[in-house]
């Protein structure tokens, strides 16, 4: 009997609860219609590819900086599982449901994200693409590093420190990731065209998404091709994974090594000359411009369709120059923990 009563009591609570919701949602929908005349804070969703890489922390810092300067509210939210296309689509859809004023997106896939972006546009939500390319033209602006140029830069640096000849690895990042594919392509094209002395031992091996997987791959490659003299890795996790493998094998500093992106450990390695170069993007600028461009558009200002945030090469020699230093260690502590 007691149990029966409890169930009934529970049901009663539920009904009251639902009734309350009904009232509240009525009121708030009226309220949102009425706010047209008032000064409005824009709500902008920023969707990265993942949330744990330091690179994305820097992007977040830029976005927050812009948000503070421009007085808008941002939501920072990536797919729950890093690099999961399907989940990034979900996140995007959920923000469309939330009816945010604009979305800044770093698409995980140049193709799979096209349709959800179309849907956002259909609902009247402008989308700015950052970092990686998206097929079609149904977006406001594309703000990214010229990744191909970054690859070219890395190839030239590696050739320079190796004297234009020797055996090298190209460690790829992840199948289907557009930005790194461009870097890899830029590197590959430059090596084959400009440096016939460089011989590619490996060019089709993927490091995968984690430091661990990159570490294992490099370890395996090193034992398979002990004659290697130079390595290029196209992003932070693969660079760090490869670096760890070289350090473990006692080869760090002996094998020439050019990486991409920056982190505290990589900066230390650069200082110790275990790295001969790091190609740097400007993720802070990317995040900043992403939000800024969107707000400009919302305020009726004209925006450019393609914005390059530039690439810079950091070497053990130039790493203490202030402008390089700020790229190596962007001061993001002000904005993110």
């Amino acid at each position: 009997m007691k149990k029966e009563l409890r169930v009934i009591f529970f049901l009663a609570c539920l009904i009251v609860f639902l009734a309350l919701i009904g009232c509240r949602s009525d009121r708030s929908s009226k309220a949102s219609k009425g706010t047209g005349g008032l000064k409005k804070t824009y709500q902008i969703a920023v969707i990265p590819k993942g949330t744990t890489h330091e690179y994305w922390k820097a992007v977040e810092a830029g976005a927050i900086q812009a948000a503070q300067e421009l007085g808008v509210e941002i939501f920072w939210k990536g797919p729950q599982k890093e690099d999961d296309r399907s989940q990034q689509i979900q996140v995007l859809e959920d923000f469309i449901s939330r009816q945010v004023d604009g979305i800044v997106l770093a698409p995980l896939d140049d193709r799979a994200l096209v349709r959800p972006v179309d849907e956002a546009r259909a609902e009247g939500i402008p989308v700015v693409i950052i970092d990686s390319n998206l097929q079609g033209e149904n977006y406001l602006s594309f703000i990214a590093t010229d990744n191909y140029k970054g690859g070219v830069m890395a190839a030239r640096r590696l050739a320079e420190v190796m004297g234009g000849k020797g055996k090298i690895f190209l460690i790829r990042y992840l199948e289907g990731s557009a930005s790194t594919t461009f870097r890899e392509q830029g590197f590959l094209d430059t090596v084959t065209k400009e440096y016939p002395g460089l011989e590619l031992l490996v060019k089709d091996q993927y490091a995968g998404t984690t430091t661990e997987s990159a570490y294992q791959l490099t370890e395996n490659l090193l034992s398979r091709y002990p004659q290697v003299e130079g390595i290029f890795a196209p992003n932070e996790s693969s660079t760090f994974g490869a670096l760890r493998a070289l350090q473990e094998a006692g080869l760090a500093g002996k094998i020439k090594f050019v990486g991409f992106d920056s982190s505290a450990k990589l900066i230390q390695a650069l200082k110790d000359k275990e790295l001969d170069g790091l190609v740097l993007q400007d993720p802070v600028k990317m995040g900043y411009l992403g939000v800024k461009t969107l707000v400009d558009y919302l305020q009726g200002k004209p925006v450019e369709k393609r914005i390059d945030t530039g690439v810079t090469l950091a070497t053990p020699e130039n790493m203490n120059q202030p402008e390089i230093k700020s790229l190596l260690e962007p001061d993001i502590s002000k904005y993110v923990r």
Binding site: K3, E4, V7, F10, L14, F17, L18, L20, I21, R24, S25, S28, S29, S32, A45, T51, F75, W76, K77, G78, P79, Q80, K81, D83, D84, R85, S86, I89, Q90, V91, E93, D94, F95, I96, S97, R98, Q99, D109, R111, A112, V114, R115, E119, E175, G176, Y206
Partner: protein, 324 residues
Amino acid sequence: MKITAGYSRLKKLTNLLGPFIGLILVISIFSLMPEVSGRFLRLANLTSVATQSVIVALSALGMTLIIISGGIDLSAASNLALSCVLVAYSINLGLSPLLAALIGLVAGGLIGLANGLLITRLRLVPFIVTLGMMGIARGIAKWVARNQKIDAPLTWLNDLMVRTPHPSWLLLSPGIWLMIFLSIIMAVVLKKTVFGRRVVAIGSNELTARLCGIRTDRIKIIVYTISGLFCGLAGVMEFSRLTVGDPTVAMGLELDIIAAVVIGGGSLSGGEGSISGTLIGVFIMAFLRNGCTMMGWPNYFQEIIIGAIIIIAVALDRLRHRQD
């Protein structure tokens, strides 16, 4: 105090009510959040959540059957990815979209059949067989896709999972209708057919089932094959949504699928579980994801919440059993 028939019926009701109340609670909490109230319960958002649930729900229908039979299928998500890749691959070969979808479906069924045969013929534990199959199916998927995603031209297949269906009289996307339709079919199969009762019997006590003349091996093979077909179908839906064949899709999704069944009252030792419970489990997780994203809450938050819900659901389940 005597347990009357009416009392036991009430108890049955509360068994399903538990997860259902959980679902209502999740929905209510988000609807009350001032930031998203009014938007959360918007029809557009509800259909969006429903669309997002289709893939997990379809695989979970098959998984429910397997878990009730006392087994488990860890290869579900890999199976789904393989099907997704095969559909894209087949379309690129110039096959008609319908045929491509069928190939995805059949591939899923074959993986399931292989699971069933290995489990019954070699007398291996389902956990081990499907753990192995998880790697095999994922590997084949990557092999077929040559380690990258496969772009395929857009076809009507890609309209199955849109948020707003093209002939607008459909109201919901074809994927959602398919999910509803198949759920009803599976619920009827489980509750109202001899096959369904036999599956429950096997999960409850396999030896008894054998004693009652049930050909347990045959039933198990059928169960795994059906589940494989559902994964194949989920793969077709995944392709529809992604518009590309992605061999790395749904990594770890098998755990979400299993969690949905468990939240809905399925017991990993077999004999218990229901389709309605599983669907509620799927929706609890989908609404949580959706709500957390709309609130702009960080990912770790929603991971913790979902983890806690799984434990709470199972703990409540135990509590109910102790009261019996």
